[in-house]
């Protein structure tokens, strides 16, 4: 009995010793140099791995930051973390803090349950991307929101939720980091990442319908009919394909209220975003 135990101890110890030598050898042979600075930078980042910066996750972004010179660094920006994070990263690397205007996702559709009542029913898989291929949508508007919530399920920050009253997705400006996941997922391209503006007031056209005014109005009370009233107020606004476009350069402080009041259908929305997390 004792012999058996001794033999076992000797054999197992020998195996352990050989394995330890092999492991040590391999560890030395295939050693990679980790940059401690990269890890430090990565720790400052939100670690959401949302890809909004254009890099493959936060670690990749940190690597790019460390490699960058002053000029290249100015082009790097983490939309999820905002200027707060970028200031910390710049401080760590000894660069000057880059300037970046805070932004938020806005939905270019106001086809709520009241404005655009349901005409048909949809009983398939609850996915906008699928429904978009199958049919025009419950409201009948070929450009409007399908209200099935692909943006809600795909927002990495939980900033979008379905508003039960309007039936439309609602972006929470406090949580929105302008990462652009909703822009990429929406099959009808209804989202835009828009600067919040200096005083936090934004003005935009909450409609994407390009049909003629009368046709568009049949499906939705809040459709842009391309009447050009807004273009008369501010010459920077362009109207093409029966749809008005308010460029970012139009000052919401000066024109916002006026434009929203002048729009006969209520397609132009003037809104205050209180979100402060990017500042």
């Amino acid at each position: 009995m004792n012999e058996l135990i001794t033999a076992n101890v000797i054999v197992l110890s020998a195996i352990a010793l050989i394995a330890a030598v092999v492991l040590y050898y391999i560890a030395q042979k295939f050693k990679t140099e980790d940059n401690p600075l990269e890890e430090k930078i990565a720790a400052l980042l939100p670690q959401a791995n949302c890809g909004a910066c254009g890099k493959a996750g936060c670690a990749d972004f940190a690597r790019a930051c460390v490699k960058a010179d002053n000029e290249a660094f100015a082009h790097l920006y983490c939309p999820a973390g905002g200027s707060k994070v970028m200031t910390a990263v710049a401080k760590e690397l000894g660069f000057s803090t880059p300037e970046h205007e805070p932004a938020v996702a806005v939905l270019h559709c106001n086809g709520s349950c009241r404005n655009a009542p349901d005409k048909t029913e949809y009983i398939g898989l609850k996915s906008c991307r699928l429904a978009n291929r199958a049919f025009v949508g419950k409201t009948g508007c070929p450009n409007g929101c399908l209200r099935l919530g692909d943006c809600v399920t795909n927002c990495p920050f939980g900033a979008i939720r379905m508003d039960e009253e309007t039936g439309l997705p609602r972006v929470d400006p406090d949580k929105c980091t302008a990462c652009g996941a909703c822009v990429r997922i929406c099959p009808r391209g209804l989202y835009e990442i828009r600067p919040r503006g200096k005083s936090g007031v934004m003005v935009y056209v909450a409609c994407s319908n390009r049909q003629k005014g009368a046709v568009a109005r049949k499906n939705c009370a809040a459709a842009c009919i391309g009447c050009k009233k807004c273009a008369q107020i501010c010459p920077e606004i362009t109207v093409a394909d029966n749809l008005s476009h308010i460029p970012v350069s139009v000052s919401a402080d000066v024109y916002g209220e006026k434009l929203a009041a002048a729009c006969p259908t209520g397609a132009i929305v003037c809104r205050r975003t209180k979100g402060e997390n990017n500042d």
């Binding site: 005409k119 699928l130 199958a134 049919f135 025009v136 009948g140 070929p142």
Partner: protein, 439 residues
């Protein structure tokens, strides 16, 4: 009893509901206005040749194909072009349509309207293909691929067998069944014409065993035509799908991502064969087709010969609806398109218009997958729909691609058999769409 042919993997047996198979094809008549879409096929829309106010006859070319993968469009009535603009199609999306206001039925002189069956094929192969292209014929089973393009296979691919698809595996639909019973000889001549265009000698008319009259008639008449045979297949859904039909009739498998031509086969629908006969022997372009109008909401369902562009509502009205339809389907219930707009027109690919009442349109809330494996059992492509569903839900489309979601033919068998009522086909469609978008 000899064993009937069928495909080996998967398949299911939805309720047949072929209630209209004993109703002869009736003429649906000519509606007051027809809306003819310029894109009724896969490929580029045809270029419009007429303008508002023009007079057209029945069979006049109104839109011209300016690409290989495109098809000519002809007027289906005689009258005046009143509108060329976007109209709401069956999916609710606007489509460009040519609206013609009808006055009488004045056919183009070049069309042979005599009732005799012309059996002699005088044209050469090239001329036949040109005639088919000029007649605007597309696959009439549902996909709508231009037939002329299909008849010119890519170089290096050798086709030895033509299969005429008379399976009609979708429930409710009986249009092909009726056509095979009433225009048997014409379909056989159509097959001979297609054979000549392809330069081959072998055609097989495939018919499901649930159409015994059509099969018997076809067997009787094909004895007179050398090179045309009949294959009676055991009923199983989706036998009418191209790949499954080739497997059933010839035992060959079309490799994933390849065309039927890679297996030496070419499949044409029975309705297409009839249209080819009319185009080549009678010089008649494709402007009417047989449509099954059926469903549990209709008192007088039937099979109708319909001019293209006729509103679906006009046909439903003819079939005496009981109540307001809860759902209208263009095509069959398994793969067809649920229609949003009843005023949408019949097109070249509309094989049926089904109208259901509220009691039968019902989809229970899906519950969780119970891992019974029935979806895998029935998938005719040998895929694992439950695994595709899991990956799609997670957004991992690349992994879904690795388990061959792109080979899915969207037949709907998995959704049909799922005891948890999970819309598995929808998940497959979503994954396919996302993968193709990323390319």
């Amino acid at each position: 009893m000899t064993k009937l042919k069928t495909f080996a993997i998967g398949g299911c047996h939805p309720d047949k509901h072929k209630t209209t198979s004993d109703r002869p094809i009736e003429d649906a008549g000519i509606p007051e206005t027809v809306c003819i879409p310029v894109c009724q096929h896969i490929g580029r829309p045809a270029k419009i040749l007429v303008k508002k106010g023009d007079r057209v006859k029945t069979g006049t070319l109104i839109a011209d194909a300016d690409d290989v993968i495109s098809a000519d469009v002809h007027s289906s009535v005689s009258g005046e072009v009143v509108k060329i603009e976007e109209n709401i199609g069956k999916t609710g999306y606007p489509e460009i349509m040519i609206t013609v206001k009808t006055d009488g039925d004045d056919w183009e002189e070049s069309i042979d309207r005599s009732p005799e069956t012309v059996a002699d094929i005088t044209l050469t192969g090239g001329e036949i293909i040109r005639r088919i292209r000029k007649a605007g014929i597309v696959g009439m089973g549902g996909a709508g691929f231009p037939t002329a393009a299909k008849l010119s296979p890519p170089p290096g691919k050798k086709i030895d067998t033509l299969i005429i698809n008379g399976i009609e595996c979708e429930p409710w639909l009986t249009a092909d069944d009726r056509l095979m019973r009433e225009k048997t000889e014409e379909i056989i001549i159509g097959a001979k014409i297609l054979n000549k265009a392809l330069g081959i000698q072998n055609a097989v008319v495939a018919i499901d065993e649930n159409k015994p009259q059509a099969a018997a008639l076809m067997q009787k008449l094909t004895r007179r035509y050398v090179g045309v045979n009949v294959a009676v297949c055991r009923t199983k859904y989706p036998q009418g799908a191209e790949r499954q039909l080739i497997a059933a009739v010839t035992g060959r498998e079309v490799p994933p991502g390849c065309l039927p031509a890679d297996a030496g086969c070419l499949v044409q629908n029975a309705g297409t064969a009839f249209a080819v006969y009319e185009a080549v022997q009678k010089n008649k372009p494709l402007f009417e087709r047989v449509v099954t109008v059926s469903g549990d909401n209709l008192d007088h369902p039937g099979n109708y010969r319909v001019r293209l562009g006729t509103p679906a509502a006009y046909l439903i009205e003819k079939a005496a609806p009981r109540e307001e339809a809860a759902e209208i389907i263009f095509g069959g219930p398994m793969m067809g398109q649920s229609g949003v707009n009843p005023a949408a027109p019949v097109t070249k690919t509309t094989s049926g218009i089904l109208c259901f009442g509220a009691q039968s349109v019902f989809r229970p809330q899906p519950t969780e997958c119970i891992r019974c494996g029935r979806c895998t059992e029935v998938c005719p492509q040998g895929l694992e729909p439950f695994a595709i569903k899991n990956l799609t839900r997670r957004g991992d489309y690349q992994a879904a691609k690795k388990i061959h979601v792109l080979d899915c033919i969207e037949c709907g068998s998995c959704s049909y058999v799922c005891p948890a009522r999970i819309p598995l086909t929808d998940y497959c469609k979503l994954a396919k769409y996302e993968i193709r978008k990323k390319k």
